[in-house]
Each structure stands twice: as structure tokens, then as C-alpha cells.
Symmetry: C2
Subunit: 140 residues, 2 copies
DNA sequence: TTCCTTGCAAAACTTTTGCATTAAA
DNA sequence: TTTAATGCAAAAGTTTTGCAAGGAA
């Protein structure tokens, strides 16, 4: 209902503000799409979805917004595909299966991988996280 | 010395032939650069290095050759940088540190990482390998 | 008002392609 | 000679940029 939509819009605006992002109409709409569920979207995926919903958004704004969200920690950029970047709307720690012959990307929950040993970091560096990708091929 | 260079050229040609690759002059030269040591090179890095050595090679051939070598298992393609692919001349199992604020890529030897638990694969898939990237930031 | 954001088109890049020429077998 | 590889320039795809117009505070 209308009240629900208003509330969603307002809470997305608040969420953006909490991350130091001025909540414009375009950014709120992008946020509502991205954070509806955990997903991996390219700039073009997102633009197509916005246009399908009748949103008035330019390509430049889609790129600006994705980069801004990623810089502010709302998204994580993924470079599995050599030709285009995707953005993961789930920024909590987790891992991925990457099916190379189909392009699929499947989440692995964080509890499903554990390390028995990790290397010491090179001097003068700090860790930003550990990424694990299990490369797969779909068969039969 | 000349004999040494001849021998290197010959053994690179043999190595390419072993992988089902017709050893042309350009491919041998590319192989000699790539496999001189373990390294991570982009197409442009490689083209620049070839040109600096005075090699007569086109951009198209550099791309053709990198893709061919990767398809034949002589290289592994890496997509850490969103804007360009790199190719790892070390195809044996190992992992990487990726220093995000400098772009550096540092090898982690395979013995330095051990898993205590790994997830079951999705049905209908087989594993092509596990990739681990420890994302770093250089500080101070 | 003042500063930031958007939209549009053009520019910048990386990578691929088409086709005539050249080299490998 | 027959087939495959190369070089060049143009094309294709993604992402960024410059600048005028519009929106937020």
C-alpha cells in the first residue's frame, strides 16, 4: 500500500544518510532495487531494470551511484567477469561459487568455509578481508 | 650467448608444441617474456615490453596469443582490476594478496593456506579449483 | 543562493573483428 | 600449396568525463 511504499522510501533515504549519502530520488530508487534482496547486478542490469520500471535515470547516474555506494560500503564490487563489473548487495562476509561456463554466481554462507591456516600479512599492510571463489563447471 | 638464446627459443617452441600451439616467432617471443619468471601482466604491459625490445608484434596478436595461451593452460586469467585483465604466468596452485590502494598483486604459496572446511558443491557441477584473495591496504 | 547531482553526448579505454598479407607445414 | 597466423584499422562494449540544467539544503 501507499503507506508502505512511503515508509520504504523514507527508510532507504535514512539508510543512505547514515552512510553519508545525500538521498536523491534516483539514489533511493536504486537502493530500493539493490537492497530488495541479496543479488549481483551489473550497471547495465540495473539500468535495464530501472527503465523497465519507468524510472527516469541516466546511464551516468547509474555508474555514479554504483561507485558511490561501493565507496561508502553499501555495495561490494565483484570482478568475476572480465568484461563488466558486478556489484554485490550483500556486504556481510560470505564467499562465492562461480560457474564459469554459465556465468552464474552463487553465494556460499560464511559458516561453510573455515581456514586451518592463513599467511602472515606483508609488513606495512592491513587486511580488508578474505575472498574465496570456488570455480565450477556445470556438467551433464 | 647465441647458443643459449637459440636453445631457449627452441625449448619454448617445443613447450608450445606440447600444448598444441603452433610456435610462430611472435608466440615464442611472448612465451619467453611471460615465462622468464612468475608474473602478472596485462595485454598492454606485454605489448609495451615487446615494443621496448624492438619486437614486431601487433596489438591483435598480443590479445590472440594471451587468450590462446590461457585456453591451452599455459596462463591463468586474473580479473582483480575491473578495467583490464591480467594473466598469471604461474598456473600451479597458489593464492594472492591484492593490495587495493596500489594495485599490487603478491603471490601466497599454496602451503600458507589450509582449509578446515569447504562446502559441498551444487549438484550438477564439478570444481575447477579454489581461489583465495586476501584483500589488503598499504598503510603508513 | 550555494553546492551537489543529473542527463546527455562525447571521449577514453580495453578487447574483438574483418580482411588483405605473410608465414608455417 | 594449403592452412593458419599476423597486422592494421575499424568496430564493439563498458565506463568516465565535460558541461549545461535541475534539485537539495
Amino acid at each position: 500500500m501507499a503507506a508502505k511504499l512511503e515508509s520504504d522510501k523514507g527508510s532507504m533515504a535514512a539508510r543512505l544518510r547514515d552512510h553519508g549519502i545525500t538521498p536523491t530520488a534516483q539514489r533511493v530508487r536504486v537502493g530500493q532495487i539493490l537492497f530488495a534482496c541479496d543479488q549481483h547486478l551489473s550497471a547495465d542490469d540495473l539500468l535495464r531494470q530501472l527503465r523497465a520500471e519507468g524510472a527516469r535515470v541516466s546511464k551516468a547516474t547509474v555508474y555514479n551511484t554504483l561507485n558511490l555506494f561501493a565507496a561508502k560500503g553499501l555495495l561490494r564490487e565483484l570482478n568475476f567477469d572480465a568484461t563488466r563489473s558486478s556489484f554485490d548487495s550483500n556486504t556481510s562476509p560470505h564467499f562465492h561459487f562461480h560457474v564459469e561456463n554459465t556465468g552464474e554466481l552463487i553465494d556460499v554462507s560464511p559458516g561453510d568455509i573455515e581456514f586451518a591456516r592463513l599467511p602472515a600479512l606483508p609488513p606495512g599492510t592491513e587486511s580488508l578481508g578474505v575472498e574465496v571463489v570456488i570455480r565450477l563447471r556445470r556438467v551433464e
